[in-house]
Subunit: 227 residues, 2 copies
């Protein structure tokens, strides 16, 4: 069996949990706290980061981009998550980079750092209460990004085109983390909400909805399909 | 003919200039200053960033990941830059992400911002002299990364394995920008230097060696093959 070294609220790990489920790849999950990476992690991945995919006894595959492309190359017989022509595939990858680069830097990273990581860090390493100015800025960025998700979802069946793709998984993975904190103002974004509702209803999403981090309970509607 | 909207000292644009030359794709270069993106750029790429690849009259392709994979999918008849088995391809992509993610955040971005972008920004938007503490930190990070490049170059013919790959192009693109500023202490890293010398000697590299930005001359040895 394959394994995925992941962290429950890491959006990159979540994207790959969704991808594995969509591709039909059963993985054993191995949890790794990002605020306290083990020495063993550095031996597998010199960057010291998750996700890491272990395909049995083969060499480990490190990093969300490498793992995503690897799964598409080797496990996409049933469903492709980078579907279509080379131009359509480029649009999927553009949006994946948008969410993993821009959305992560402007929304996910500050929210995860301020609302979660700081709780678990010693005070000397930046532990303590959240920097409220950073959270406010991230929330303002989130609203702009929800406009963009709405724009895409309004014009296309799925975010990158007419088929479900890795772009939907990336977007949903990031938004699901913010939703865990109960910080997505869904009521203002009905089109984005309806797209997220479709994502949330997929069998691949179900395991994510029962996730919980000790000391940080999910928002009241996190697991509801009708939110 | 295809075009590439780029910025001369942007490492992502440089990687694609190298990739196009290696694949044998002739591109017209269209320069875009990142500190003052034109309205037209936002119409092509909502992120407002370069590189953007225009394959004739077809839809534009935005972002270094999407363009890199697109070129590999459509233009790699002569040479593959993501070569080998799925595992070998994953290693190429792991290292590309390393340089475009980690190296960029820890070295290229602070160096480019402090040594270049600030010169061209109005004072109200952060223009002025470099933040020397940020430059010092980036230089310290650079030394760690040169250790890693040396480690890889010592064990393999090329950084990701036995063949030239996109990983070499990504690493060389980032290092070439720091080298433009004359800030790479090559003499301390003979193995990394010898790898960079091989990269610099490739015909694909030649156009980059004659680059120049107004007001910021390249370092004395920037264009020398014997540095």
């Amino acid at each position: 069996m394959s394994s995925l070294i992941h962290f429950t609220l890491d959006p990159f790990s979540r994207r790959l949990r969704l991808a594995c489920a969509e591709y039909g790849v059963v993985v054993e999950l191995i949890e790794e706290d990002p605020w306290n990476p083990s020495a063993a992690i550095y031996e597998i991945n010199p960057a010291g980061t998750v996700p890491i995919f272990l395909a049995g006894a083969d060499a480990p595959i490190c990093g969300v981009e490498a793992i995503g492309e690897f799964l598409e190359e080797t496990r996409s017989a049933r469903i492709s998550l980078i579907p279509g022509t080379s131009f359509e595939r480029a649009e999927v990858r553009r949006l994946v980079s948008w969410f993993d680069g821009k959305f992560y830097a402007e929304v996910s990273e500050p929210m995860i750092t301020e609302k979660l990581i700081r709780r678990f860090l010693p005070r000397a390493n930046g532990g303590g209460g959240p920097d409220t100015a950073r959270v406010r800025q991230a929330m303002s960025n989130l609203r702009e990004h929800l406009d963009y998700v709405s724009y895409l979802a309004d014009r296309r069946a799925w975010l990158a085109g007419e088929q479900l793709s890795m772009a939907d998984l990336a977007a949903a993975a990031h938004l699901s983390v913010i939703d865990y904190f109960d910080d997505v103002p869904w009521f203002r974004y009905p089109v984005a909400k309806s797209w997220y509702q479709r994502m949330k209803s997929r069998p691949s999403f179900r395991p994510l909805l029962s996730d919980s981090i000790r000391g940080v309970a999910p928002g009241a509607h996190y697991a509801d399909l009708d939110f």
